[in-house]
Subunit: 208 residues, 2 copies
């Protein structure tokens, strides 16, 4: 549907728009201006972002919430189940297993793995923790296409390799280290400490 290359930031904003409009009723109509205020951007930006993918609005009126929800969900692939595996059921891993956004209708964590024998076999948030050795086999049997890495740094690359061997197409990496993946796999790093460091920089700008 997209004419050519879509900026990654546009996709990110679509997620944000979707979150914002979910609070409204299907029948309601929002203008780009109203939507922009809700999420903190400009009306032109909203229109440009949406226009990459089609014509969803009605001139003179605005965007109908129901239609927009459907379109954005479809663009983001949220209208079909996304099957996920999480590796590393430590503190952060178990928090994410319970995190509302990670166990929604669209996202289903189908498998969890750890290398700690005392955790293997236990069930947490409805998911049974399995041995990391089984990663490739389970990923491919369960047709899982997204992997989340919440292991310590030293294990991250190995785990990524196993996920890829099993056939995941995307990896969300929380281990603060660079991991290398082949071109056909999409990697996204979330480094929580870097977020803090960015704020820290800001403080050096404003005062003592």
């Amino acid at each position: 549907m997209p004419r050519f290359k879509i900026p990654e930031i546009t996709v990110e904003r679509l997620s944000i728009y979707l979150r914002a409009i979910k609070k409204f009723h299907h029948e309601e109509i929002l203008s780009s201006q109203r939507l922009a205020e809700l999420v903190g951007t400009s009306d032109g930006q909203v229109r440009k972002d949406l226009a990459y993918f089609g014509e969803f609005g009605v001139p003179g009126q605005g965007y109908k919430v129901g239609k927009l929800k459907g379109e954005i969900s479809h663009i983001l692939g949220l209208d079909r189940e996304q099957r996920i595996a999480l590796v590393g059921v430590g503190k952060l891993g178990s928090a994410l297993l319970a995190y509302p956004g990670f166990k929604s209708e669209e996202f289903k964590i189908k498998a969890a793995f750890d290398n700690d024998p005392s955790k293997v076999g236990r069930t947490w948030q409805g998911v049974t923790i399995q041995d990391v050795k089984k990663i490739p086999q389970v990923i491919s049997r369960e047709k899982i296409d997204l992997g989340i890495i919440t292991t310590p740094v030293p294990a991250a690359q190995q785990v990524a390799n196993k996920l890829i061997e099993g056939g995941v197409k995307g990896i969300l990496n929380f281990a603060p280290t660079r991991i290398v993946v082949p071109d056909h796999v999409k990697l996204r790093n979330v480094d929580l400490a870097i977020q803090l460091e960015g704020l820290s920089y800001f403080l050096t700008q404003v005062g003592p």
Copy 2:
């Protein structure tokens, strides 16, 4: 030191460079090319990023690890203690309290708050959990300048207001909602679900 406005992404990359060079010895010398390979960017990018802040390299040689560490740490404000408060000691909150990057030499979580009476008074990771009512008072007494919000969505704005009342200068918000802050406070949102949705979009691009 910076001549004018520095792109936020440059600051983020500085954090990444710093993480990468920490693995090397003080005396070692790295070229921009080597550093670029380590973090997955281009040599020109590395030089541009650093050149915003000064001349840290030696032409014909490269960058000395020790010097670079010092300079980047200083730029990011990591050469002095950053005092932090965390609000919302749920699953994600307790994971972050234990997260290595959040309890480093530079970052000290000095206070934690929750509104659940059964949690108040308990100690976790060396920090005693206090009642959210005390936020403004503790923030200002302890001279805390960064706040982390890991509460559920409905509480986020209220908590932010209390943090600001106490005098924080920056807020790291993990609640998936838009919160509004005055101009002099720096807000950074980390929405974990959006990261997943970005990957999900990618899958729609490469095939079913």
